[in-house]
Subunit: 201 residues, 2 copies
DNA sequence: AAATGAAAAAATCATTAGATTTTTCATTTT
DNA sequence: AAAATGAAAAATCTAATGATTTTTTCATTT
């Protein structure tokens, strides 16, 4: 099935591509939050059938509805349009540096940007920047995920399970389901490419 | 069960830690290659019980046997000792930049180094450096894996499925089971942090 | 064209039995 | 003393089944 067509003076491909990507995002976000169509639709005051159609791009939600869904899924509505200025065929495949959404905790001293262009993958990639002097505080409770990363620049101390490690640029780590904490004792930001599987967003 | 003890003038922890890590590596490599104990043990001319014990660090293979196994598993024997100079508690958790083994294809113009400190994870991280002017040739046959990556520096053109994309530093990509090809048209090496799930080594 | 509600279809989940793979361990070998 | 074997025991994996839940479809209404 191909719902795309050529519309517009420059021959740019359109169609319901945007609605389609928005729908996929909603579905992936809903799944990672372990909600059913009935739960999310109920919370949004809409029917199950409607949400099913929205998620598959068969119908277009109103902006009001989308706002509501974004709220329930705990993302900003702009999240759904992060790649909308790019060529349709690269959406969901590539995420440009300029389009990366900020995600996750508002923990001071940590900025996390999503690198994964698709939310439907089996892992997510994140670019984390740890500010000089910042730290995570107490070890985080272990999540049922597997984490890994590479330190690109700066320096970072991590506590993973019982172990304290001092990371230098190029050092990498990987662990499953262990509580961890971090602190940046250096004078420059520490940049880590982080991988989480399965994704949590 | 704890087989570790304090031996040595500096109180450094030892025990059968090395044998244990070697065994885990053998097991993981065997699994990614979809071999049973019987198949690998048979090919190595040893019994199933023996290999089971080696993989769990209950017995120590001879260097001759380990060489044989490395050969059958298509890694260099030094691979098993990549982190052996590090503190035991960080082995399998952290891989230092200086210890990264070179892996995979000897495709000209591509150097791949393993970033994952453990082989038993659900994904593997790789640092790939694409030489200026180099290319992959024809699209690779799709593997039953999911791939993702971030371009750290340089420039890279990729063909993923039907789509051609020009990547700049900071751009990221992710795709599942699609054939892909690449070419570095720039004048400097292109460095990519690459993720593959499940791991293939 | 969006939205609903209910029927139909599809996907998911829990069991279970059978087959395969791995671990254990008493014994033999080096 | 530790490595190695071989066979019994345990654990894991597979495939099939039926029940349950979830999702899709579609005729009808807004």
């Amino acid at each position: 099935m191909n719902f795309s067509g050529n519309i517009g003076s420059l021959g740019k491909k359109w169609g319901n591509a945007v609605a389609h990507h928005v729908g996929e995002d909603i579905r992936s976000l809903r799944k990672t939050r372990a909600m059913t169509l009935a739960q999310l639709a109920g919370a949004a005051g809409r029917s199950v059938g409607w949400l099913s159609q929205v998620e598959r791009g068969r119908t277009t939600p109103s902006v009001r509805d989308l706002e509501q869904l974004a709220d329930l899924l705990d993302v900003n509505i702009s999240f759904f349009f992060r790649s909308s200025r790019r060529a349709p065929e690269e959406q969901g495949l590539v995420l440009r540096a300029a389009d990366r959404p900020t995600i996750g905790s508002d923990e001071t001293g940590l900025v996390e940007e999503l690198l994964s262009p698709t939310l439907s993958g089996s892992f997510e990639m994140i670019r984390s920047v740890f500010a000089p002097g910042a730290s995570s505080g107490d070890p985080r409770k272990a999540r049922p995920t597997e984490d890994g990363g590479v330190l690109i620049s700066g320096a970072l101390t991590m506590w993973i399970g019982e172990t304290e490690v001092h990371l230098s640029p190029g050092d990498s780590f990987q662990f499953a389901g262990a509580p961890y904490a971090w602190r940046n004792d250096g004078s420059e930001p520490a940049v880590v490419i982080w991988v989480v599987s399965p994704p949590i967003y």
